[in-house]
């Protein structure tokens, strides 16, 4: 089976939230409460246990080539965020039960009948995607519509996207398409365009994202980390420090016993 993924081109996103709705409908996710945030048109706030697509609305006081608004110095950045299905996934590598697995589509999937809700995946994710559902006790995130892929169908969000901002397909083909798109945008004068997480060279900390993005501003603006890293890449240093520390403890214990002289047992 070929590796599948998403290429999310933020330059054509119109902020309709059809992806959010399609995701909730298909996966039969409960709502997250209805409230007003004051954060532009974003009342979804973030990805979470029951929100697997999230459209961000950034209002910038700077112009963007190809975008004309009634206000002069102003531009919209719209982006549909999703689980990145990292090549080196922090959630998967931290999962102690083996509940999180890599599927035949190269996506990262949480098996709900195995997860025991330890919460270690949540601190392992450098993107703040996966979360535990209160009242349910288990961790949840985007499945890349595993059930739909099984039947050769496109994930609900990509199917519903009216502007092809969310593109689904074979990863190799998506990468070619994305690189062509960046060249095209550069020729048209949108020199800010670049790809976020397209491959291991682009984002060494995760060794590439199966759901990558075309952005036109710094990652921070989209609430994305600038140099994310799977925690496992650094854990060796902690294990070494621990080994040294416990050796010290053993010596301290032996020293405390030996230094207080006494009679030996027969």
């Amino acid at each position: 089976m070929n590796a599948k993924g998403f290429f999310t081109d933020t330059t054509v996103c119109i902020g309709c939230k059809a992806c959010e709705v399609a995701c909730k409908e298909w996966n039969q996710l409960p709502d997250d409460g209805m409230f007003f945030t004051g954060m532009s048109y974003d009342n979804t706030v973030d990805l979470g246990a029951s929100t697997w697509r999230h459209v961000e609305f950034v209002e910038r006081p700077v112009p963007l080539a190809g975008q004309e608004t009634a206000q002069g110095n102003f531009s919209w950045l719209l982006m549909s965020d999703v689980c990145k299905h990292c090549q080196r996934a922090g959630c998967l590598e931290n999962c102690p039960t083996g509940a999180i697995v890599r599927t035949e589509f190269d996506s990262v999937y949480v098996q709900p009948d195995v997860c025991n809700g330890c919460g270690y995946c949540i601190v392992g994710c450098p993107f703040g995607v996966i979360d535990r559902r209160e009242g349910d006790g288990r961790a949840w995130k985007c499945t890349l519509c595993y059930d739909r892929l099984k039947d050769d169908m496109t994930p609900a969000c990509a199917k519903a996207c009216p502007t092809e901002s969310i593109q689904f397909g074979d990863l190799d083909e998506l990468k070619d398409r994305a690189r062509t798109r960046v060249d095209q945008l550069h020729q048209r004068g949108m020199s800010e365009a670049y790809l976020y997480g397209v491959d291991a060279d682009n984002q060494p900390g995760t060794e590439g994202l199966n759901a990558f993005f075309l952005l036109v501003d710094r990652p921070e603006v989209y609430n994305l980390p600038p140099d994310p890293v799977v925690p496992t890449k650094k854990v060796g240093q902690a294990w070494l420090s621990m080994a040294a520390a416990v050796l010290g403890m053993a010596l301290a214990a032996a020293g405390a016993v030996v230094s207080s002289a006494g009679r030996r047992r027969q």
Partner: protein, 384 residues
């Protein structure tokens, strides 16, 4: 693979107003997310945002986002999810640490082969056994699905410190318990108890330290920043905790002296490692502040004061009973405060988007362990 295909029994008895607006007579719940229960208190949250509403025009200069802002964030929202762990987790860090260090001291006393230390060996073994048992209970209590705690031992996954730690704890529990029950027994049973005591001491080493690795192997900025110094702090704090607890128990003169020496070594290392943690955390402005501010700062300041107090009392010559009691009490509280402080520092750090951004822009994201940092613009990478 599970979670695919029709599942029998789904959708039965689901109320039509469960938050999904699906009438069970019209449609069935069998989507990937249909397992999610809708909490009763969710309805009460409607209409009110569970956080402060954004009150200024987002497009104003210096506000929310865009390259115009000097340090842009997305409406100040966190990048990361906050750890969902509750008080039981730092409490386990404490009890597991005490259990591990006590098992190690018990094994060391056993090696010496001195008859007069039999009382200390027994007390160490019981401390290790009870600490492991309480720790296991706390860990299970923290799970979202406690009835599935045995899934921790479903696989062996060295990449997950929590999985490795679960195996360590699974070994430590029976070993320390059997050594405790068989302490003082003669003949064959005594020999089995002694063997369990040695084995318990061996697993006590990682038991006292792996929780520092567990905490470091995360995306939480302050926890990952202190990954080289935290193990020393956690192990030293485990020694302080175990020795302090033993000081509160009845011991003979020789044993008192051993435990006091162990406590002095632990507290001195504890204070030194605390400084090392502050230094490594302070490498990036805006990351280490989590160790000094708010609840975490209060806990860690209290921990240093209590540990220093315990150390001071223990180095004063003389063996008055009040001294042992005071030093033991201060040391045990200090050890617990260290674990709670580090825990709450991580909570605060995960809430702060700037901590993540500053750490990674300073070259301490992936760049530290990979040759190059990530692409963050048409021509640029996160760091040079």
């Amino acid at each position: 693979m599970t979670g695919h295909g029709p599942r029998s029994g789904r959708g039965r008895g689901v109320a039509p107003d469960d938050g999904r607006n699906i009438d069970p007579t019209m449609g069935i719940l069998q989507g990937e997310g249909s397992d999610q229960r809708v909490p009763d208190d969710r309805a009460r949250a409607e209409g009110a945002a569970p956080f402060a509403v954004w009150k200024t025009a987002p497009s104003r200069k210096g506000q929310a986002g865009g390259s115009a802002a000097p340090e842009p964030t997305y409406y100040g929202r966190p990048v990361l999810k906050q750890p969902v762990w509750i008080w039981a987790v730092p409490a386990y860090f404490f009890s597991g640490g005490v259990a591990g260090a006590a098992a190690v001291l018990g094994a060391a006393a056993q090696v010496s082969g001195r008859e007069e230390l039999d009382g200390l060996i027994t007390r160490c073994r019981w401390t290790a056994a009870i600490g492991s048992a309480i720790g296991t209970g706390l860990l299970i209590h923290d799970l979202g699905r406690p009835e599935r705690f045995l899934n921790m031992l479903r696989v062996f996954r060295p990449s997950s410190p929590l999985n490795v730690g679960s195996w360590v704890l699974a070994a430590a529990g029976p070993l320390t318990a059997s050594s405790a029950i068989l302490s003082g027994a003669g003949g064959g049973a005594g020999a089995v108890g002694d063997a369990a005591g040695y084995a318990g001491g061996a697993v006590g080493l990682p038991l006292a330290g792996y929780t520092a690795v567990l905490v470091s192997s995360t995306a939480v900025p302050v926890w990952s920043e202190i990954r080289r110094s935290l193990p020393a702090l956690f192990v030293a704090s485990a020694v302080t905790g175990a020795a302090s607890f033993l000081q509160l128990l009845k011991l003979n003169r020789r044993e008192e002296s051993i435990v006091r020496r162990f406590a002095v070594a632990g507290a001195a290392a504890d204070l030194a490692a605390g400084l090392a943690v502050d230094r490594s955390g302070g490498r990036v402005d805006g990351v280490g502040s989590a160790l000094h501010e708010g609840l975490a700062g209060s806990f860690l300041r209290a921990a240093k004061t209590l540990t220093a107090g315990s150390l001071a009392i223990n180095v004063i010559p003389g063996r008055a009973r009040w001294k042992r009691m005071a030093a033991g009490l201060l040391g045990a509280l200090g050890s617990a405060a260290t674990k709670f402080g580090v825990f709450y520092a991580g909570q605060a750090s995960a809430r702060d988007p700037h901590a993540t951004f500053l750490q990674q822009r300073a070259g301490y994201g992936a760049a530290e362990v990979t040759r190059r940092s990530a692409v963050t613009g048409p021509e640029g990478r996160a760091t040079r």
